[in-house]
Subunit: 419 residues, 4 copies
């Protein structure tokens, strides 16, 4: 009888290598391995061959850097997405793309199932499972690591029995995921939220103390909310991110130490590095400050927060994501211009911004003689603006100045008054 | 006939000194000057005498530092208030207190009016006027600078005619306001948002490049959302802020360069320095990350944003402020613990946090054998969590993987597959 | 010298008729009158001639019913817009259209100014002025009624002097505005919020007590959020509204008695009638309940509220409106189907709804044997869903059952326990 | 060996009667039955004895009507809680109280477990389980109906074998839950959302067609957001609700037909009756319209929506509920006054409202000569209010009137213009 096929998200690491064998043993599947490069700098050739070596019948490797940058990272940047104001959604953005490629290949190959290597405790299992279900509800989902209940030692024994190479750094205490938009790191020593993350927890960023002693200013140019050039040099978005990761990383920019609320109900302590992401988000926000009218600027954060939550929670393929993105996209029409960011010792500081669409109006803003602002108008404005508060106070006498606190400070200085 | 009295918010500067004379000339008022120290380090004795010298009939000076810290700054810290995610509301917090003291003194003195020195273009005029109206709608409000329409030169001439001392640094291009919570600076060269703020624009903070080469770690202890000790030493909140301004300022922490949307409808470019404010807000946020349950952590920002807007917009005495603060206060019950912050070259980075009320549960979070998390539960959770997205996808076939983009990346690698 | 031209929003009533003359007298303008029919059932021919009779040099009359329905009312319906949950934004929707037509004609005619007949106290002046400014900031705006400060008697005298016909019902105590989407009525007796509105305040709706004794069920069919047929008969949206106004109005449906917060800071008591609007909004909401996935259904109200506020506040031409509408539009893709509404004695009750895009899944929802819902999954779901609350309770012992209240009820029944 | 005790939420119906036996058989528990009267009009004596008859070792019956009204319903009314704008959270409000009483009794009795009769598909299981966990995480939770997997016929057979009386109306197609705040009904014929609910689905409300032909006006007086008298007669809140259920129910008021999104991910069609709830919420909202200042009125709905969601989702004992309630409570300080509601043929219409704290200011609102509103102020207000939109339009020329649509309507009428 012909065996059924399963398409596995393959990383090249121990877990998914063991999974190839385990899916054969336990479910009698033919396993098709798929590895995507979304900017982590994988040796795709090596990964491709390793999958085949440990038993995959086919091994796809996909360079998805541009696709990832343009269709997953860009909407996140335009919405300044930071989950809980801190986490730039690194892995949360790549999961929906990986799921989509897997489903696409599964359909092409006539597979009946898809698989991922997530545990039962993280957010990524939710992102994969919900994405698979949304993209093709007929595909069965298998999550070997969540299912097999092997301890680390048992897994290593299983690998050795089955001729699966065990990495030399198997005792590495960190669990890392990385792509264009950054790197996440959890586990081990990091699990104590009081302990400072050790130097070894970081890889993309220089320790600020060791970073260059001279600040570096970069200029980032945006067109309709999309970064199009760095220091005047036009480049593809994915290339710009990679380059900026190097520059900002060298200056120690992008370290995030966060205790975050996972969708599965627990708090976890995470170390992220996102040099380009944090630099670009800061720059983008400042350009928006210049080019978005007040009303948009003040409601957009509500949409941003909801979108960050939605993406974090694995609902990329929910229609809500589309609707929120439609809002965001509409706001980017005039977000064009250039931002200067000073990178220095762990910090990215915007120090200047300009735009042909700037709504900063010198003649309105200046206190110099060329002031064109109508100072009289303010009087009428204030009168009506404060009217509800005034009527409330008059009717309810709520704010009568009788606090003892005020009495006290005023009494205290009475002596100081010259008659 | 007995002259009517007016109570003026007096700073000791040129504008309000001229205002004392002008209020006498134009309105025939007896002027009572009131100067508050809310942490700007004024020489109150000097200010008191200057007011009398230029013609005030009485001169109050009020040390309001503790009052300001405890009743105006603390609620702002507990709500992590940053207007447009950047501005810690420095002046917006002091205005309602100054207004309250003025109204209190006006009532005590039987004055018929109150006065402030704001122009017709800023936010502070709104904050003063709305606060006065809410606190005592019967008091007339006079805003000499908004009203008199003198140019700078005319004002100087008027001062000289009337024996009002003109400051030697009258050509200082900056317009500064300062209190415990920070310092704001606008005007002149700063009006070009592309130009980096010059060194002279800053006063509370060392330029990061000149800051110490060695990081300094401070430990801040909170009880129910209130900072109570610094590096283990208990101190009053106002003192803690002043001390932290020095320490963090020395490390260049707290510089903010912002193009902001004013309530009066224009954008303005502002330079703020808030070493203690930014350090404390970061620390407080991280302690909240540890001690607030997810549901609170994820809705509180909505309340925070609204409160920031409300305070910025001069509505401190609106009942909305009270209601929002009631929410915030309720959330602080368990926000107790200690946070370590590393200050270095312009950056304040939280590197550790601990709390007896910590909701971070090692046994749930760990990937070690002591893991108590129920991995099975995740399966059921994901199924129901993703159900609406799944049903929608099944009914509307919205997410079928037919994008050309995916096709393309997958096609590209087909060659790479070993048969 | 050639006189400059002004384009006036002309209603045919006393105020704008007097304004034609006044604009000539006071400003020496040539007045071009423009009257739009947005569904109030005006006699356009009469209005056109009246304008010319009282002195306009040109008189445009524009049938804008379809345009109004399709481009202003439809987005409001799709967003279920009800300001303060009650007012369907009747006048707030027509003002931006009227302003646009006026500016269009002003540009075509080479006019230098535009004019409207609003007073200085309502919302409509804001809507007109902001719309004019957004559409063509070079046009001067004149608001004769706001400006002339004539009392009612003075105005009548002025009219009589200038041969302007004074309506016979000049003592009519109501001030009415009407279009396709409804009718608003303020003033006079209505100004006492305790007094019930008298019968004469209503015009589009039968008093429920006098409405037919037999309910009528109408079926409304939507395609992508747009009503396309009524009781199976396809019709243009503007026609469907007019027809439904008659049917629902006959049944007394659509009366709204509201104390509302105006943008200009005061509360006003308003009587609205909106038979079609309320019926269509109810039907549309119920169809959305069937076809929107939970996540969209639960965030859309946030966008709706903001859009209602934005439109009410006269910001139709703010970029925020566009962005919010982009969100709304995206959500309507699958809002197709038919809704049955029972109209009876003042009430419109949805009693059935069906859709090919229905997300109501009988097999999941039923309690019959064909139930396909995974009951086991609920266990895992609940465990993780409640985890943050559980950990918080365990750490902080917040919810220990020690309330006296509970003690008391339990103690009370102790006797009732059989041993 | 002594048997362990379990405390069961007992309704007197078949499911929980069978559960008593089943908990003995399957788990060898001693079962303590607890029945609460939260306003459903149970015969508590009968229920108490039935529990003992079918095998409970103890049977508590608790009259919790006042407690339920004052501590669970009142906060819901003050927040105008309607889940998805329609459902007044009837069962969602009683579950946390029942859970609290159960846990209280379990602690008093030394029980090791608690039990409820919910299935695995509804919301109530979540509400019970999360509440139990929050109140006492050490108690084991058993949900017999969710667990036993008996079909209806098997359950009846089990009952008959064990001498448990099977109700004569066992074929009743409805599944009903009822308390003071209303009655919910699901299942059977109701599962088709296109079919109108049959007459038999309703119990608390007269069919509007059969309701009295004469409207009845009731007056409801509130003090600080709490209803304290009905038609001038002071009464306890729980009594007021019961009485209003009768009056409004007689007039057919309170029927709700809703397709709602359950927390467990499915849509279900529900029929609710809530005569008092809908009448009181309308009245309360109108009183708020009169007494809340604009800023509060416009933000409160955001808090209300969140609280409705939180309560619906079973998070009554989450700290978020407390914080949201703190906000709501603060807003009620001045919500005092009387509201007239006209009940007629299925509809409750507020027709008048008065309050000593009314913020409706006749002198500001009137168009009569006593008008005290400053019409001049509007000019300044509009100028600054519209400034961001104006600057944006000027910079980006976004709104130039070039739509073909406008061109067309204007062109169409050109003929109509008299030269």
């Amino acid at each position: 009888m012909k065996k059924e096929k399963i398409v596995l998200a393959y990383s090249g690491g121990l877990d998914t290598s063991v999974a190839i064998k385990w899916l054969q043993d336990k479910y009698n599947f033919d396993v098709i391995a798929v590895a995507l490069d979304v900017g982590e700098g994988k040796d795709l050739e090596f990964v491709k061959n390793k999958a085949l070596d440990v038993g995959a019948i086919k091994s796809y490797v996909v360079d998805a850097k541009s696709l990832f940058a343009d269709e997953y990272v860009l909407p996140a940047l335009q919405a300044n997405l930071l989950y809980e104001s801190k986490y730039p959604l690194i892995s949360a953005l790549s999961r929906p793309l990986i799921a989509k490629v897997l489903v696409g290949i599964a359909e092409k190959e006539g597979a009946v199932a898809v698989a991922h290597g997530c545990t039962g405790k993280g957010n990524d299992q939710v992102r994969f499972d919900v994405a698979f279900t949304a993209l093709n509800p007929d595909l069965k989902i298998v999550a070997p690591v969540r299912e097999w209940a092997m301890s680390r030692d048992e897994e290593i024994a299983y690998a050795e029995e089955n001729g699966i190479p065990v990495p030399v750094d198997i005792d590495n205490p960190y669990s890392v995921d990385q792509n264009l938009w950054g790197r996440s790191n959890e586990c081990g020593i990091l699990e104590d939220p009081w302990a400072e993350a050790p130097k070894g927890a970081y890889d993309l960023t220089t320790d600020p103390v060791d970073a260059p002693d001279k600040p570096q200013v970069v200029q980032i140019t945006f067109e309709q909310g999309k970064p199009v050039s760095l220091d005047g040099e036009a480049m593809e978005f994915s290339q710009l991110i990679l380059k900026l990761n190097q520059i900002a990383g060298k200056h120690g920019v992008g370290r995030i130490d966060h205790v975050e609320n996972r969708l599965v109900g627990i708090k976890s302590r995470e170390i992220y590095e996102a040099p380009a992401a944090l630099t670009l988000i800061s720059a983008h926000q400042e350009l928006e400050a210049l080019t978005l009218p007040r009303e948009v600027a003040q409601f957009k954060p509500t949409v941003e927060q909801k979108l960050a939550q939605t993406v974090y929670d694995g609902l990329w393929y929910s229609p809500l994501t589309k609707a929120l993105q439609a809002f965001i996209e509409q706001t980017q029409t005039h977000v064009s211009g250039t931002v200067k960011v000073k990178l220095y010792k762990g910090h990215a500081q915007v120090i200047g911004r300009e735009s042909a669409q700037s709504l900063y109006d010198f003649d309105l803003a200046t206190y110099k003689p060329e002031d064109s602002f109508d100072h009289e108008a303010a009087l009428g404005f204030i009168k009506l603006w404060g009217l509800p508060t005034k009527v409330h106070a008059a009717v309810n006498q709520t704010n009568a100045v009788t606090d003892e606190a005020i009495e006290n400070v005023v009494v205290d200085v009475k002596e100081a008054v010259k008659q």
